[in-house]
């Protein structure tokens, strides 16, 4: 049976651009048809910006790779029109178990907060994710959007010439060149684009290797995240077991530094390790094996003139905590609406510098959390190991020590505190939804707040009137009134009003809060919009 990741999804086709006498010009080119590149392209197409995606391959991701997605990225996928397919297929989990040596020391329930459309976490193989994004690409193409994915188009050169970026592309039928106004590099951690432009990528390499395996088995392990510290089947190292759809299980085994990667990857070496973990009698089929050496690092800046980096090309973290693909989706979520306003000529180019501010803040949070997890999982000194083991010992008997156990802090979205785009705030409203914060979902009548907001500036009057629309020097703001009385559980009240009876929120197209007030004032909204678009 051919697997999804063995089937070409966007096979090479000759483009008219390859026969053009002079390089054809496109507003935006995206390098990389991975999850982040495709998300960027879908977002652009939804904003009616023509986009070409170039990929050196023609298939989805090989192996499961990124498998765990948090609520915020699921909300972003909803905004991109592909959340349902993703969540319907994915495995929802809440329970985790932590083992130390031979014993289970405790278990935890993520106890997801009520009143959200999407669950806290969903596991799904990256190849399914990319496949669903491609379904959305095709649907947008059928609607007539100018969105093209060119397989087997490898970017071989990038040249910045003032307001033009010149891209040289190798194909099975030779090279051609394209011009674009904006180039978005989503070409992964090894980003050839970054190298071509001689950009830095600095940070900390962790001296460790992880064997990552997908096995297909009919097992009665429950839908839980199991994490082992120093288990008998992988002494002095860690291990992780996590369920994916289609009876695929993800297994991560820490291997240490001094190993022969090619040897360790051989099935005859992998299978005994897995049997030691799963039991001699476990019946499984090995679908994919990879060895991963991770690093925590980022580029100094994600914007370089007209070239913008997003996802792993801009920042890289350890795999513990669902922060790779998750943060990449938050990058393009942040970038595309800004690019749209700049391309439309209603916001200055400087608006794109806020992409740097906001997403570097996100990347630094991720790198910090990821480094801390890594230091706990792989202690770097004897005393660090002593404390780590002390925490694990105590966690078995005492509740207080459990929050200190760090087997990966699961991704939560950044609040863009201090962002130059943040407008007015009112301290009487709840801190959780302050300017810079991502939307906090809540039920509104028979729908969800996240389904009502996004892709445009949205003014929301909670228990108060706001105008149906407003034009602020070429940027349209839509207004809507909602009532907290429709939510009998009081989620909307608690999350957006606190002790107040009413409030007015201005949301950005990426569903982050731009500004908020108790009472509506047109002048205040105009000022906040100018701030949120970099015009102030």
């Amino acid at each position: 049976m051919s697997k999804i990741f063995e089937t070409p999804l966007y096979p090479y086709q000759r483009s008219a651009d390859q026969d053009a006498p002079a390089p054809a010009r496109h507003p935006v080119i995206v390098i990389g048809a991975g999850p982040i590149g495709l998300a960027a392209a879908i977002d652009l197409a939804q904003h009616d910006i023509p986009v070409i995606v170039l990929d050196d391959n023609d298939k989805v991701s090989w192996g499961s790779r990124a498998i765990c997605y948090a609520k915020r990225p699921l909300e972003i996928l909803d905004r991109l029109g592909c959340g349902d397919e993703f969540v319907d297929k994915g495995v929802v989990w809440n329970l985790g178990k932590v083992f130390f040596d031979e014993r289970k020391i405790y278990e935890f329930d993520l106890l997801p907060e009520e009143g959200h459309k999407r669950p806290a976490f969903v596991n799904l193989q990256q190849y399914h994710f990319e496949e669903y994004l491609m379904h959305r690409v095709v649907a947008l193409q059928e609607e007539g959007k100018k969105l093209e994915v060119r397989g087997m188009n490898r970017v071989a050169g990038i040249e910045e010439q003032g307001e033009t970026v010149l891209v040289t592309i190798d194909t099975p039928e030779g090279s051609y060149r394209l011009e674009c106004d904006w180039l978005i590099a989503c070409d992964g951690a090894t980003s050839p684009a970054r190298k071509m432009l001689n950009m830095d990528f600095i940070g900390r390499v962790f001296e460790d290797n992880f064997l990552i395996a997908d096995v297909i088995m009919e097992a009665d392990f429950p839908t839980e995240r199991w994490f082992w510290f120093d288990p008998p089947f992988n002494r002095n190292q860690s291990a992780l077991l996590h369920k994916q759809p289609d009876h695929v299980w993800r297994i991560d085994l820490q291997l240490g530094w001094n190993i022969d990667k090619d040897e360790e990857k051989k099935p005859e070496n992998v299978i005994p390790r897995l049997k030691a973990m799963l039991g001699e009698d476990a019946k499984f089929e090995l679908e994919w094996v990879s060895i991963y050496t991770f690093q925590c690092r980022r580029m100094e800046k994600f914007r370089h003139g007209r070239v913008l980096f997003a996802g792993d090309s801009a920042h890289q973290v350890s795999p513990f905590g669902a922060r790779g693909a998750n943060s990449g989706l938050q990058d393009t979520d942040n970038l595309i609406w800004k690019l749209k306003l700049v391309i439309d000529g209603v916001a200055p180019e400087g608006l794109l510098d806020s992409y740097d501010y906001e997403r570097i803040l996100g990347a630094d949070e991720n790198i910090m959390n990821s480094s801390r997890s890594t230091d706990f999982i792989t202690p770097k000194s004897d005393v660090s190991r002593t404390f780590r083991n002390a925490v694990l010992d105590l966690a078995e008997r005492f509740e207080f020590a459990r929050p200190l156990v760090n087997s990966g802090r699961l991704s939560i979205p950044s609040v863009y505190d201090g962002s130059p785009l943040n407008g007015a705030d009112d301290d009487d409203l709840p801190p959780r939804t302050r300017p810079g914060a991502p939307i906090v979902d809540a039920p509104v009548g028979d729908t969800w707040l996240t389904d009502l907001i996004g892709n445009r500036f949205q003014l929301v009057g909670i228990n108060t009137e706001v105008p149906a629309s407003l034009d602020v020097d070429g940027v349209r703001v839509e207004g809507m009134r909602i009532s907290s009385a429709e939510d009998s559980d009081g989620h909307l009240q608690k999350r957006y009003l606190g002790a107040e009876d009413q409030a007015v929120y201005l949301f950005r197209p990426d569903q982050h809060v731009a500004a908020r007030w108790i009472d509506y004032s047109e002048n205040a909204v105009r000022a906040a919009l100018d701030t949120a678009t970099g015009r102030a």
């Binding site: 005393v383 002593t386 404390f387 083991n389 002390a390 925490v391 010992d393 105590l394 005492f398 207080f400 020590a401 200190l404």
Partner: protein
């Protein structure tokens, strides 16, 4: 209670000190280190306040 108490606070200091040393009796160096780590974590949790813990971390440094 927002400052680390560095004044006399332990009743019967000699008894406490004897208990502390006795707790390590018969332990190897590694076992003692592990014991100390568990003890620090238990006491730190009891204190709880990050500000006081930070002061204690600073106060415990070797005097130059």
């Amino acid at each position: 209670m927002t400052k680390l108490n560095t004044k006399t606070n332990i009743s019967s200091p000699d008894d406490f000190y004897a208990d502390l040393i006795a707790a390590h009796e018969g332990l190897s160096k590694a076992e003692s280190d592990a014991y100390n780590a568990r003890l620090i974590l238990l006491l730190a949790n009891h204190i709880g306040e990050r500000k006081i813990l930070a002061e204690a971390l600073e106060a415990a440094r070797a005097h130059p």
